[in-house]
Every structure is written in C-alpha cells, then in structure tokens.
Amino acid sequence: MSNDRQARALLGIEPPRFRLRDTVRESSLSMWRHPGRSLLTAVGTVLGAAAFVATLGISSTMGQLVSESFDVRRATEVRVVATDADGPAGWQSPERLRALRDLNGVTAAGRRLVVGETPVRRTMGGEPESVKILGADGGALAAMEPRVVSGRLYDDFHERRASPVALLPLPLAERLDITRTGVAVFIGDRAYTVIGIFDDVARRPEALLSVVIPTSLATEMVGEGGEGEQDVLIATVPGAAQLIGRQAPLALWPEEPSAVRSIAPPDPRTLRREVEGNVTRSSLWVSLIALIIGGISIANAAVAGIGARVPEIGLRRAIGGRPAHIFLQLLSETTVLGAVGGLVGVMLGACVTSLTALFNGWTPVLDWRAALLAAAGSAACGLLAGLWPAARAMRITPVAALQR
C-alpha cells in the first residue's frame, strides 16, 4: 500500500521485520521454558520415531543374519528329485552324474536313496534300534560332508564292490554301545562293518538320524521290499546354488528336463528383502499410528496452552508483531517440538537396536536413511499439529495484552 509507505516515511518507521533466526530462537526459548512438559508433549513422536528406527534396525540386523547363515550353508545346496514317483529310468546313472559334476560351480554331487525304518542291532540277538537307512554314493557323501569323529568315510571302491560298510551317527553309536570302528552291526539281518562315526553334516541334517551305507547295498535293501526315496544331492560353490538349480535338470535328463526338478534354496537377497519387506510394512504402520497420536498430543497441548499464553501473544501484538509473526512462531514451536521428539526417538531406537544386537551377539545394522526419515516425519507431524492452534492464536488482538 503506497498510503502506508508514505505514512511510514512521514513517521520515520520501518515495516515489521520477519527473521527466521528470531522465530526459531523464540520457539526454542518457549520450549525450554518447560522442558519436562515439552518432552511429555512430544512423547508420541518420540515413540513413533523410536518404533520406526528400532523395528527397521532390528529387521535389517536379522535380515543380515539370515543372509549370512544362508551364504555359508544352505545357499550351497541343491537337491534334484524326480517329478513323478519314480522318474525316468537311469536318471541317476554314473554317466549322468558325471555330466552334472562337470558343471562349473558344482563341488560334489551324488545319488542318495532313503530306505524306511529298519531294525539295527549290535549283535544278532541284541535289542534292535529302529532307524532309517540312507544310501549315499561317494559323491553324495562328499556333498553332505559328514564330520567324522572316529574312523573314516567309505569311497567309490566300497560303492563299486558293494562292500557292507556303514557310517553311524554318534548318538546312535552310543545307544548301540559302539565306541570304536571296525566292529560289526546288523542292519536287517545282514552284518556291516562300522567304518566311521560322524557327529555332524554340512548339508541335509536328516542324515544325523540315519545309518549311511553305499547305495549299491541300499538298492538291494529296497529290492527286498522297502520303499525307496531317491534324490541327487549337489554341493556348490557359494552363490552358485540358484544357477546350478536351473542347470541340473538339463544336465541330468536333457531328453526331458521337466521329468526331474531341482530344489534350490531361495536367493539370500530375495529372502532378506522378503523378511525386511514384511517387517518394514508392519513397522511403518505402527510408527505412523504413533506419529499421528504424537501429532494429536502436540496439537492438543498447543491448543490448551494458548489460553495461558493470551497475555504473551497480546504483548507480542502490542509491540508490533503481525498475526503472521504469531502464526509462524507457534507453527515453528510445534515443528521444533516434533523434530526434537523425533531426534530423541531416533536415538532411543538406535539404542534399542544396538542393545538387542549386543545381547544376541549380532552385528547391528542401522540405516541412516531410516533415522533421517523418522526425524523428518516427526517434524512434519509437529508442523501439521501446529496449523490449527497457530491459526487460532493469530486471532488474538493486542487489546488482550491489557487484560489484568
């Protein structure tokens, strides 16, 4: 208004100033006036931000864990089974397996055959233990990697010659009172020499509950009436499981690859994304709800506080503050409150994540983007919460300052 400019020139005054620095300073001053109350008001945003950072932190920490464990063990294991009950005849023949072992990335591969529960005795007349019998050739044995505590593994020689040798898991050996190798066990009604005792396997842990014998002997046993479940077990170099999983059916049965199918572990990265995706979605909702509650509590406190601040606001108007000054100041107060609440929450969430990781012996994984998002979200929440009280405070007239 040129009229106003003229008037200001005549009176020798300048239009009221707006300085961001002053506004922020005034906001922090009024916030520090009641630090406890301010923090209580911001508790919703504190919790929202903390929940967000902590759930994201813990889920990514665990996601990291999942992929680590999968990288070293399961991610190097592929099984191939027949699509139909028996599959095409000869799909596990030595020539086919040789083709499979030639694939780049395969470290060991072999045939396995599971025979149902069979009585195993220490002596012909002894007490029987009913266990599953697992037939495995040298390649499958190498893929399972049993950890031998006594004796040795059998090899292709025993496999070709159908030598009656057996590998016993340690708990079974103890139950049968076998403490050394070289002694005999009776499987069904046939005697086998215990060639080794193992206490762990790298792949297919069900082997820990079975007696392992060469497949040539297991086939005979199945022929005697047991039902056989067959597969080909492949150990791969780390990271190759997915690829070998796709190539194995082609190598084993190129005539009709769909006659057999491979079971490869999920890609660790996909898995991690899945785990994180699920947790992230639910944590987002929880955090969002907490933030909304936080915003409402800030807005509520701000509206309630206006009554007590009428003289202050009136004074500000009396000394030249425009309604816009009042509006921006109250808005910046709730925004600062939300932001501070958010920062406190981020620190809290980071502590929870770190402590959880510490107690479980994990490596904590914290995403700075999540922290930034949580703090920004809390600030935005405070900003929104301030709109209504700020608009109300704007209507207070300077005459209010004169109220006694």
């Binding site: 200001r8 100033r17 006036r33 009396a318 000394i319 030249g320 503050g321 005459v399 006694r404």
Partner: protein, 224 residues
C-alpha cells in the same frame, strides 16, 4: 502549546456484543510532544478504551486519529504494528514478563519485530536496563525479581527502542507504596528527558502528578 503529536477528532468507540454500548463518546483531544498526561476515572468508565485507541491497540468506531498528522484509520495492520513497536512503548499493570528468560532477554523482546539487528537489540536493552538502574539484575529470571523490579524491567522493555510516547496502564496497580513511588519517580524522570508519558490510573494521587490531567466518566473525557 506546540502542534499536537496525537490528535483525536470526533473519536468514539462502540462495543457491540448483542446490544451496542458506547464506551467512549465522541471526543476531541490533542496530546503534545513532551506532555505528561494522566487519565483517571472510575473503572469501566472508558479510560482503557481511550488508551487502547491512543495506543493503536484498538480502532475507533467513528472519527479520525492522527499521529504527527498522519491519519491512522486507513493504515494497514503491519504499519499500525510498526507504529506500536517503534514510536510507542507500553507498560502494563500485570508486567507481562516472560518467565524462563532473563531480564535482559525480556527487554530485548520489546524490539523483536523492529528494524534493529540482534546485536543492536542487546546493546539497547542493556542501556535501557541501566537507565532503570537494573544493570546488576540483567541475568535474573523475572520470578526472582520483586514487583518493583519487574515493573522497572517492563518499563525498560517499553523504552529500549527509544519511543516517542510511553503508554502506562495502571503501572503501579500491583505494587506496594514504596515501589509505587520508585516507579512513578522513574516515569517523571523519563518525562523530564523529553518522553511523552500517558498514564492511566484510578488512583487520585497518581493522577494528580500529571501536568495535564484528564478524567473519563461514562465515556466522556474532561480536564480537571
């Protein structure tokens, strides 16, 4: 008498809450530079209404109010605010100091929306506090100050920006007689230094200290 600095011509104020009440009847009044004016009268008679209009805290319903010859009716809210903040100073009965800030910061607040830089505001605030003989209390919280000290901080806040007119609304209403005398002496001193002082009071003795004494009864302003 010199040309009036503040001049009211036919100014009246009617409040309209359901049924209209004329709190200030049409008034012609001129205040000169360097005046020391007291406005007295019973409560509810309209003296606060007159002060609100003179201080640009409220606008008249009818009539014209000129400051240094400038008509205020047509001014925008920003300019009215600038006049209040830079030409006028206000002292209130309830002090209206903000707790949690030092006396110095309270004095600085008076210039928050004015043209001065933060550094300059601090300088002016310090000078004003010293003028009120409160330099030694600059960092005290208002809650630690006596009533008289509080009101002196409030006066310092009002005069820090070097205004031309100081409006005081019952400045000693919350003070005991000793502090009342101290604050009134300071106001006299400010007047002697050239400031135009307008004091609203219901106390006859305080009203008598004015060089120019006005009385408001039932919305009618008269000299006595």
């Amino acid at each position: 008498m010199t040309d009036p600095v503040l001049s009211l011509t036919g100014v009246s104020r009617t409040y309209n809450d359901g049924h209209p009440v004329m709190a200030l009847r049409p008034t012609d009044l001129g205040l000169a530079q360097g005046d020391h004016v007291t406005i007295s009268g019973p409560s509810g008679a309209g003296k606060s209404t007159l002060l609100n209009i003179l201080g640009l805290l409220d606008a008249p319903t009818e009539g014209s109010y000129r400051i240094n010859g400038v008509e205020t009716r047509t001014l925008g809210e920003a300019t009215r605010g600038a006049v209040r903040g830079q030409i006028f100073g206000f002292v209130f009965q309830a002090f209206h100091l903000l707790a949690g800030r030092s006396a110095l910061e309270n004095v600085e607040l008076g210039m928050l929306y004015g043209p001065h830089s933060p550094r300059r505001r601090r300088q002016l605030a310090r000078t004003a506090l010293e003028r009120m003989r409160l330099g030694h209390r600059a960092h005290a919280d208002p809650r630690q100050l006596s009533g008289g000290e509080k009101q002196r901080v409030a006066v310092a806040r009002a005069i820090a920006c070097e205004p031309r007119v100081l409006f005081c609304d019952e400045p000693t209403g919350n003070l005991d007689s000793e502090n009342t005398a101290g604050v009134l002496d300071l106001l006299d001193e400010l007047h002697r230094d050239g400031l135009t002082v307008v004091v609203v009071t219901h106390d006859h003795e305080i009203a008598a200290r004015g060089r120019r004494r006005l009385r408001v009864v039932d919305g009618v302003v008269s000299a006595w």
